[in-house]
Amino acid sequence: MIRFKEIQKAYDNGTKALKGVNLRIDDGEFVFLVGPSGSGKSTIVKLITAEEAPSGGRLMVNGYNLNNIRPGQVPFMRRTLGVIFQDFRLIEKKTIQENLIFAMRAIGASPRETRKRVPYVLELVGLEQKAGCRPTELSGGEQQRVAIARALVNNPQMIIADEPTGNLDPMRSLEIMMLLERINELGTTLLVVTHERELVDRFSKRVVAIENGRIISDETGGYYNDEVTI
């Protein structure tokens, strides 16, 4: 569960990225966060992952108060999140299976736990046959599936996908969105940051639109605000 209450964020160079954002995402929700470049979408993601600290307001992420979180608690907060990036960020020297094991070992999972969990997650994203391949041997869509598998492998409460289809063609983008929808149906909260209007319109989900650091629209049910310039 995420709570933004009057969140402000100003960077050191004086840029005011967020100007009093109020946002609540409950467990199990699927939310699209849309807005033009520079509107504050990435800042919201960075605040949720604790890469940045808010300048004002109150921020809660999965039970952690990020206003006064101790540095030692940040890794434990991050274990409640899975993050998917536009550029996949897979380790090219490792196989698909090793990429997932790497993510699990990073939080102290035992080899026994990884042997049990990795094949299950690979099957979930439909890549069980590609476990031994390296990322460079896969298509863009498949690489993003691996990134989704990596985000899922530690069983997070919430997945944040930052422009997950930005590097994919429309067909692969649709497949990825359908996969994310399925993951959401299995109980994981989803926050998808995107500016792909067609894709957002195709799914009947809650859409939060942001512009100039302010939320200008928050509608549930697949509504996409036409006033927002993407």
Binding site: R79, R89, A103, G108
Partner: protein, 296 residues
């Protein structure tokens, strides 16, 4: 999933990483070898210089001249009293005849000396001290003894040795510290380059929820292994280079005055110093290098 610190995993990751990033590992080991060789060579030169100064110091002595009226029995008692003074290393008795013979040595052409009787000079003790720095104080203590007519000593030379030894020691320490810092800087930068290639891995680990300790330990072990490997290679090189130089110096006629210490008796200490320094610069280099990348 609770946090587990599996050191077997860290060591295997560190070891695996050395081979995965082979070129950078090779560069880091080469840097450690070079730094240790420079430091080691300088330190060994300093040790040899110190040893030679020690030899020269040992040859420095002062003379206590015995009262003319003293009998042999009294002189023996006086020698025991001199040996009882704390800083006295050894005493050598020089009889009147021996003193005269020594005086005549090199003056054989001087006919005036031929007619002098053998007992014209007084008996004396040649006294070596343990610590040349305390020579003046020791000489005063000897002079205060009954039976000692006077003291003859070259305090300026003794003080010169002390100053020379102190300067050599200080220069050696300063240079070794500077070289150590330079090595640390170079190693930190070499490992930082290696770490830079892996910043994506670190960022992924951090985003997955890895603690700083979890991310840091494999790098620390990697640094330790590189430091250890560099130290062992540097030790073998040092042994070879030292032996070559030592053979060249001892075999040379022009450098016959220079005495070179054998490497074997020092080998364990050199190995210990190399391994210790290698581990220190490898580990500190890793910790310094990774610090920046942990701030995600």
């Amino acid at each position: 999933m609770k946090l587990r610190y599996n050191f077997g995993y860290f060591i295997s990751e560190g070891f695996h990483s050395i081979f995965t990033h082979g070129f950078m590992s090779f560069a880091a080991v080469c840097m450690i070898v070079c730094c240790l060789l420079i430091m080691g060579s300088f330190s060994l030169v300093a040790v040899n210089v110190d040893h030679m100064l020690g030899d020269l110091e040992a040859e420095n002595e002062f003379t206590a001249i015995v009262e003319e009226t003293y009998t042999d029995g009294q002189t023996t008692q006086l020698q025991a009293a001199i040996r009882g003074i704390p800083n006295v290393a050894s005493t050598t008795y020089v009889s009147k005849a021996e003193a005269m013979a020594a005086f005549k040595e090199g003056r054989e052409d001087n006919e005036l000396l031929n007619d002098l009787p053998d007992d014209v000079l007084r008996a004396r003790f040649r006294i070596h001290v343990v610590d040349i720095e305390r020579m003046k104080e020791t000489a005063s203590q000897v002079e205060a003894l009954d039976g000692v007519a006077k003291i003859r000593a070259e305090f300026e030379i003794a003080e010169g040795f002390v100053v020379l030894r102190d300067i050599a020691g200080a220069v050696a320490i300063i240079l070794v510290v500077i070289l150590l810092l330079v090595s640390l800087f170079i190693i930190a930068n070499t490992i930082k380059l290696a770490t830079f290639n892996r910043r994506e891995e670190i960022a992924i680990m951090k985003m997955c929820g890895a603690t700083n300790g979890f991310v840091r330990w494999p790098f620390v072990f990697e640094g330790m292994l590189l430091g250890l490997a560099g130290a062992l290679v540097a030790f073998l090189f040092q042994w070879g280079v030292y032996s070559l130089v030592a053979n060249a110096v001892t075999g040379s006629d022009t450098m016959s005055l220079i005495t070179v210490l054998a490497f074997r008796p020092m080998a364990l200490r050199v190995l210990g110093a190399f391994v210790g320094t290698g581990l220190l610069i490898g580990t500190s280099g890793s910790v310094l290098a990774i610090r920046k990348f942990l701030q995600v």
